[in-house]
Amino acid sequence: MPALTAGESARIRADFPILSRTVRGGAPLVYLDSGATSQKPLAVLDAERDFYLRHNAAVHRGAHQLAEEATEAFEGARGRIARFVGAQPDEVVFTKNGTEAINLVAYAMSNAGAPGALDGADPEVARRLQVGPGDEIVVTEMEHHANLVPWQELCRRTGATLRWVGVTDDGYLEDPRSVIGPATKLVAFTHVSNVLGTVVDVADLVSAAREVGVLTLLDACQSVPHQPVDVTALDVDFLVFTGHKVLGPSGVGVLWARPELLAAMPPFLTGGSMIEIVHMERSTFAPPPQRFEAGVPVAAQAVGLAAACDYLDTVGMERVAAHDHALMGYTLEQLAQRPWVRVLGPSDPAHRVGAVAFTVEGVHPHDVGQVLDDQGIAVRTGHHCAWPLHRRLRVPASTRASFGVYTTTAEVDAFLVALDRVPQIFGVSA
């Protein structure tokens, strides 16, 4: 699959007006922070605005024509987004971001311990959802805080124990089978590290989990923007991603789960639109996905995210992946020529997607970022919400350049030129 041509790149960039702005007194913006959040094409902004200007109403709460149209737009978006990851519409739950989607699962699991919470659920599925003292939740040492802290808190609430698969010096996962065992209830791990770009061997972790019959949750926040993702092929039990990193608006995240799990899970947020019958004394709940979408939902945002799926599918996710791969290869190759730069994570571009984090010998990553920013290059500095991973790699922080579908090799060049000023400014040897 070929990378994007210069002409295609130019056409894509024209859909993102923010990319032609300048920063810091006239420097053209070079946005290499798509790992934090992506920019949005006009088609996404137009879809959201069109929803508000023509169909806005509370979805699932009215019978008048606007309410019908809004409901149809919202449920249409659910179907579209489901298709983007090879899922069925009813298996897709909308949340406000990836973080809420992970918390939803963590809270459903602790709520499963409340009296009556699993009444009517398939007993075998119910058993898999229950967590208590002696049980273990397994994560990895390369997780984003969003896929670590909710599990720490689940353990705090239930008395379970958190364990983790370690990371090697070169940014791969250690053997999961030394950690996953009969006490494990759930293995929650990232598809792609938001710092190292490492593409995790999902099949290996899934088979390790299957061997002991436990649940798996995949944090796909950093893979869905860059490569085709198919829930069936991945064979996990839960998958999470977030709209704002995949050209969509902020305020919308996605939880996909196997239907039998959603059917058994007790609710997380409760209120309107997720109920079946409400009495003052007690309530019963609607079937999924409604059971997990309390309150007026993020309808305009879902419609925007569906437009983002359309946009990416028009480019073609295989080509998006090829483009990312080309950028990754070029960036690693160029950085390798700079001995004062230490790239974190795998040196083989075939094992990486989306992001390149690095340190400069003798210069704090913040200062590196500042020098880049002053030349218009927007990168992220700090621990990128993966503090334990940085501790593991014995760096206090790092500087990260990350790519989007609109990123070009020329931008990588501009980044390199700006980077080359760092040694001189801080008087370290280049």
């Binding site: 009215g62 019978a63 309410a67 079946e276 019958i277 609607a286």
Partner: protein, 152 residues
């Protein structure tokens, strides 16, 4: 308001076979959570012959004229007939209601329910028209009839 034709108003005011009767094989209670419409429905099957026959269908419906009329039509059309045939009626009604107005319904297959054709233009009301039917399918399932393949 062509939606509220004579037949609908007639069925909703004087629902056919209404009331709950004894001697049933299964009873179910269904609600439409968005609006609070409710139906309690019982099926009484005759399994003496080659295939099960719906001997009685009794119900107590609380809801709008569409849901009440639809349940009444279901009862009128189905009582005394082989279950298999009532499921064919269901498929016909379902197709009509999902057609957004394209399918006017065949009176040979669905009887008085052709009067519900207008509902197809109001997606939020389709659930009302199907409330009794979904309760009926559920009751059949609980009475041990294989309805697999019946829910489109």
């Amino acid at each position: 308001m062509d939606l509220y034709g004579e037949l609908i108003l007639e069925h909703s005011k004087r629902p056919v076979h209404a009331g709950l009767r004894d001697g049933f094989d299964a009873e179910v209670h269904h609600v439409n959570p968005t609006c609070g419409d409710e139906v309690t429905l019982r099926v009484h099957l005759d399994r003496a012959g080659d295939e099960p026959v719906l001997q009685d269908l009794s119900y107590d419906a609380l809801g709008c004229s569409i849901s009440t009329a639809a349940t009444s039509m279901l009862a009128e059309e189905s009582v005394g007939r082989p279950v298999r045939e009532t499921l064919a009626t269901y498929r016909g009604i379902h197709a009509m209601l999902m057609s957004k107005g394209a399918d006017p319904g065949d009176p040979e297959v669905i009887g008085d329910a052709v009067a519900l054709a207008g509902v197809a233009r109001y997606p939020a009301r389709v659930k009302c028209a199907l409330l009794g039917w979904s309760a009926y399918l559920d009751a059949l399932a609980r009475a041990g009839v294989d309805i697999s393949g019946m829910r489109p």
